[in-house]
């Protein structure tokens, strides 16, 4: 045992540095996005940049605090933390305040707390605790169901708020399952499901004149094609597959195509019947479908214009007119990347993206160097959460994903996400620092 090495030397300072750079980046850009073209007053606590300054300070304090707590504490209290989160998620549905259409905030004076931002950490802890208890992990069906429940319960509560973006983030836990033994076919199935989704939306928005039936949505053609393709593959399977596997493969082919058809049908119905028109418009806008409403893609047009106008080196700090004069809605929170794009240009945006990628890859590296299953699983959960935020937020701002409100970790203004991500990363760093000293 090398108890003599102080814990401080075991901390992965590279990760800490990347997080602090992201925080600083966020702080400067939030200031620019809220202060307009005037000079920035950092110590005006009433202003958004003043608050963000306070949140960054609090986050660093919280990080330091986490680093001096024994890792064992987090493992033992994982279930308590998780249940506490569930209680808060239920409570917020009862007494929360509605902001932007979602009932997801507790209000304390001028400060709002979003329990869903902390639930991610809680779920990651709980998932790590559950999966590290058994050596079978995902290959055990019981475990799989439990793991899915652990993710699905908070996700379901958040869906009731409703906050689709955060639910998607929970969906990212599939990467953890995959790492812990879930079949790769599931990832492929998810990919196929995405393809069918896109095809359903595109065909669903156009119309086609059918013989005998008349003009209706062109999604029918997609279904006919899927059915023919399924039948064809089913019929050809005996030619392609070894006899002993034939039965199983044919069964799964039938199952897959019926599932695909069912999903497409459900999606189409959901799009046409369940979604509100403006939500449907958002999805249509993303796919370049003309919704006949110039305001529908207003956010995304302005976001795109702001980023594009940055060109190579940007307009300069505090110099971006679209940032300074309020052209991009929610630019200090969900659309903060527009400010980076406009004021720092291609250099700034690529730097930010690379920094995120390095952070993600670094977490994977940390995960794989653990002897402790708990730490590894927790690290993967953390990476998945960060990655989903990165994917959805940047994808939305760049017009590659639908407009789904979700913050960019450490950069967007807001205390809950700042503290939530800090908790996530610094618990991981503490656990990582103990990797030689604690045997689990």
């Amino acid at each position: 045992m090398r108890r003599t090495v102080p814990i401080i030397q075991r901390i992965d300072w590279l990760t800490v540095a990347m997080v602090i750079i992201l925080m600083a980046l966020g702080l400067f850009n939030v200031a620019s996005a809220t202060a307009g073209a005037d000079s920035v007053d950092w110590f005006d606590w009433g202003s958004k940049q003043g608050k963000q300054f306070m949140w960054v300070a609090l986050a660093i304090l919280l990080g330091a605090l986490v680093l001096i707590i024994e890792g064992e504490f987090f493992i033992r209290t994982a279930a308590i933390y998780y249940v506490l989160n569930l209680i808060l998620l239920v409570a917020v549905l009862a007494v929360g305040r509605t902001i932007g259409g979602a009932k997801s905030w507790f209000n304390f004076g001028s400060i709002g707390i979003q329990p869903s931002e902390f639930a991610k950490t809680g779920t990651a802890l709980m998932l790590a605790w559950l999966l590290s208890r058994s050596n079978e992990r995902m290959s055990n069906r019981n475990n799989l169901i439990k793991a899915i429940l652990i993710v699905a319960i908070p996700a379901g509560l958040i869906l009731l708020q409703p906050d689709a973006g955060t639910v998607l983030v929970f969906g990212g836990m599939i990467l953890v399952f995959y790492r812990e033994g879930l079949s790769g076919n599931v990832l492929i199935a998810v990919f196929c499901a995405l393809l069918i989704t896109v095809a359903t939306i595109l065909t669903g928005a156009s119309s086609f004149t059918y013989p005998f039936i008349g003009t209706s949505s062109a999604v029918g053609i997609l279904w006919v094609i899927l059915a023919i393709l399924g039948t064809f593959i089913w019929a050809m399977t005996p030619q392609w597959v070894l006899p002993r596997k034939r039965k199983r493969v044919r069964r799964s082919v039938i199952f897959s195509f019926i599932a695909g058809l069912a999903m497409s049908a459900a999606l189409h119905t959901g799009l046409e019947e369940v979604l509100k028109p403006h939500q449907k418009d958002r999805i249509h806008v993303l796919f370049g479908i003309d919704v006949g409403n110039p305001d529908a893609d207003y956010n995304i047009r302005h976001a795109r214009a702001a980023i594009s106008s940055g060109a190579w080196t940007g307009k300069g700090y505090l110099q971006g007119p679209m940032t300074a004069y309020g052209f991009v809605p929610e630019q200090e929170t969900d659309f903060i990347f527009c400010t980076i794009g406009e004021e720092w240009g291609f250099i700034g945006t690529v730097f930010t993206l690379l920094l995120f990628t390095c952070l993600l890859l670094r977490i994977l590296h940390l995960a794989e160097r653990q002897r402790s299953d708990f730490t590894r699983i927790f690290a993967y959960a953390a990476a998945s959460v960060l990655f989903m935020h990165y994917l959805i937020n940047i994808g939305m701002v760049l017009g590659l994903a639908p407009v789904i409100g979700i913050p960019l970790p450490f950069i967007s203004a807001g205390g809950s996400s700042m503290l939530g991500f800090t908790l996530l990363i610094f618990i991981l760093l503490r656990l990582d620092a103990e990797r030689f000293t604690v045997l689990r």
């Binding site: 291609f346 945006t349 993206l353 995120f356």
Partner: protein, 607 residues
């Protein structure tokens, strides 16, 4: 695959997504210009700084056309919506329009652009604006922009100055610099001198915020320019004389043109009935224009330049002059008043030239022109006419008739002086002789002239043989008179011959049996000639004159439509105008009162 190796798949997904994002950024930030232009369109706005339009002054510096403040109400739909809408009923009330009208304007604004302001109410007068200015804050999205409105405070010379009003689709199609809501000169001097009057627009580039409010100068203001005011234009008109003349012509139909013979400067130009210029510049332009257009006496018609009349007896003076110059008669030549060919009036039998002009003897000038056209030089009356008419027409045109008078009036009709080709076209080549066309010898037939041509003729007579092309521009932008204004035209007729004709003109006014006795002005020697233009709905009363005889200061023509003989109405009007101009006041009160009381239509027998 070992589970541990799955980190490569997951890491690979991370890196792949980042590559996709970077690819997208390369496309957006480094290559696409479409979105950069869109950003510039959103954040940059050019403000146009309208220059003050040049004023118009009369020859003495009195203001004819001025600019005054007017207020347009603009409306930005998005601003209104974000502020929670407004009370349309109250808004319509303070503007003084109905609610449906206002809502129609709102829809128009919305259709144009919801985030940009559009005009919803034009040219709110200053006093109305002052009343409602304090209320406007209650209506989010509404703002006021000051603009200048053209105004003619005296209401004089409306036909001459013309219209200054909003551009139409056609203007915007031909000149891309015009935008909806811009103004330009559309007729008269406002159109002809639009370039000089309009000045040069300044441009200021702004960075705007999402509410389209100006926030900062764009490009550090390096591209900004200041407006250059339009040039003031001084006219040759004498506003006092113009006002007097318009007043004299009130309730009549006709025209007056007065020219300073030595310079060609137009002193007064009246087309009656007239209208106040401002009727066609304010908010009510549409309905005013319609009622003026449909008015039975055609007030919009500029008779001074566009009404064509046969010259009648007045033309005989020109005949006499060119006959003298060609030597077919001498001043003392007497010709029998042979009324078999052409009718006449009065009791004369054997007049010389001076008497023939004074008596307006038709057979005399029939014979005079016959000597010029049918001279027997080519063996046939047809060939004679065909050969000689051209030279005759040229001589007539030298007096300005049938020409554009130097081209300083774009609306001017040249009138008609027929020549060989005209008659060839009408009757066929050599199918006509003097006997076919003789009615032009006494100023009838195909001859047509406008009031300004006749005023110019008076100036030619006053100048004894030449004229300066008539014009109204005294000075542009304080730079003095443009050189092209002072074009001189010569009749090529010996001044000696003019003395005979001028003597006759003096007698028309002074002798006891002269037709123009009413043109006398106490203290001044007036030379004039009456004309009576045959017209089926009542003859037009015409008079041309200049005075004083030996040092002419003013030459003019007066037309009073359907008023009878030239001596009855046109001559006394000429007398009043000459007196007003030469002595500054009118002492002939009885004459003045008679004219002012006369209203159109004139009684059958005015005496």
């Amino acid at each position: 695959m070992k589970l541990r190796e799955r980190q490569l798949v997951i890491g690979g997904i991370f890196v792949l997504i980042t590559f996709i994002f970077i690819g997208r950024l390369i496309q957006m930030q480094l290559f696409s210009s479409e979105w950069k232009e869109y950003a510039a369109r959103l954040t940059e706005e050019t403000e146009r700084l309208e220059p003050a339009r040049g004023l118009m002054l009369d020859r003495n510096g009195q203001i004819l056309l001025n600019n005054m403040a007017g207020y347009d109400i603009w409306f930005t739909p998005r601003k209104c919506r974000t502020a929670g809408g407004l009370d349309t009923l109250a808004f319509a009330q303070i503007l003084g329009i109905t609610r449906p009208e206002l809502e129609r304007e709102f829809r128009r604004a919305e259709a144009y652009a919801s985030y940009r302001p559009s005009i919803i109410y034009k040219q709110l007068p200053a006093e109305h604006f002052a009343r409602i200015a304090g209320e406007l804050y209650r209506f989010p999205g509404a703002e006021v922009r000051r603009r200048t409105i053209r105004t003619n405070p005296t209401g004089l010379a409306s036909h001459l100055v013309g219209e200054y009003r909003e551009v139409d689709q056609n203007d915007m199609a031909t000149n891309p610099n015009y935008r909806l809501g811009d103004y330009k000169g559309k007729s008269g001097l406002e159109l002809q001198w639009d370039q000089a009057l309009q000045g040069k627009r300044g441009i200021r580039h702004h960075i705007v915020d999402i509410r389209n409010d100006y926030r900062a100068p764009a490009q550090e203001g390096l591209l900004d320019t200041l407006p250059t005011p339009g040039l003031d234009i001084q006219l040759t008109l004498d506003l006092d004389l113009q006002a007097y003349s318009e007043n004299i012509m009130a309730n009549k139909r006709g025209a007056i043109v007065a020219i300073e013979p030595s310079t060609g400067e137009v002193l007064a130009m009246v087309s009656a009935p007239s209208y106040a210029t401002d009727l066609l510049t304010g908010r009510e332009r549409g309905s005013n224009y319609d009622s003026l257009l449909n008015h039975p006496r055609k007030p919009l018609f500029n008779r001074t330049l566009r009404a064509t009349y046969r010259p009648g007896s007045i033309f005989k003076m020109i005949q006499g002059l060119i006959a003298l110059e060609k030597g077919v008669i001498r001043p003392s030549s007497r010709i029998t008043c042979d009324r078999n060919i052409i009718g006449c009036h009065g009791s004369h039998t054997l007049d010389n030239l001076e008497e023939a002009i004074a008596h307006s003897c038709n057979p005399y000038f029939h014979e005079v022109m016959k000597r010029m056209i049918q001279d027997g030089s080519s063996g046939s009356v047809f060939s004679d006419a065909h050969k000689n008419l051209g030279a005759w027409s040229e001589s007539i045109r030298a007096f300005g008739l049938g020409t554009n008078l130097g081209g300083h009036f774009t609306a001017l009709r040249s009138g008609t002086v027929p020549d060989t080709t005209d008659y060839d076209r009408m009757y066929g080549r050599k199918r006509w002789a003097y006997s076919t066309i003789y009615s032009i010898s006494i100023g009838e037939g195909e001859l047509l002239t406008t009031p300004i041509h006749m005023a110019n003729l008076a100036a030619v007579l006053a100048n004894r043989g030449h004229y300066i092309s008539p014009h109204v521009i005294q000075s542009v932008g304080g730079q003095g008179k443009p050189a092209e204004m002072e074009q001189r035209f010569d009749t090529q007729i010996d001044p000696i011959h003019f003395e005979t004709v001028i003597g006759a003109m003096a007698k028309v006014v002074t002798s006891d049996d002269g037709t123009g006795r009413r043109a006398q002005v106490p203290g001044f020697e007036v030379c004039g000639k009456t004309g009576t233009v045959q017209n089926s709905t009542g003859n037009h009363s015409v008079f041309i004159a200049f005075a004083p005889k030996d040092n002419p200061q003013i030459a003019l023509s007066v037309y009073v439509e359907n008023a009878g003989a030239g001596g009855d109405w046109a001559a006394p009007i000429a007398s009043l105008i000459i007196e007003r101009y030469l002595s500054g006041v009118v002492e002939q009160h009885e004459k003045e009162a008679r004219i002012l009381q006369a209203t159109y239509p004139f009684p059958e027998s005015p005496l």
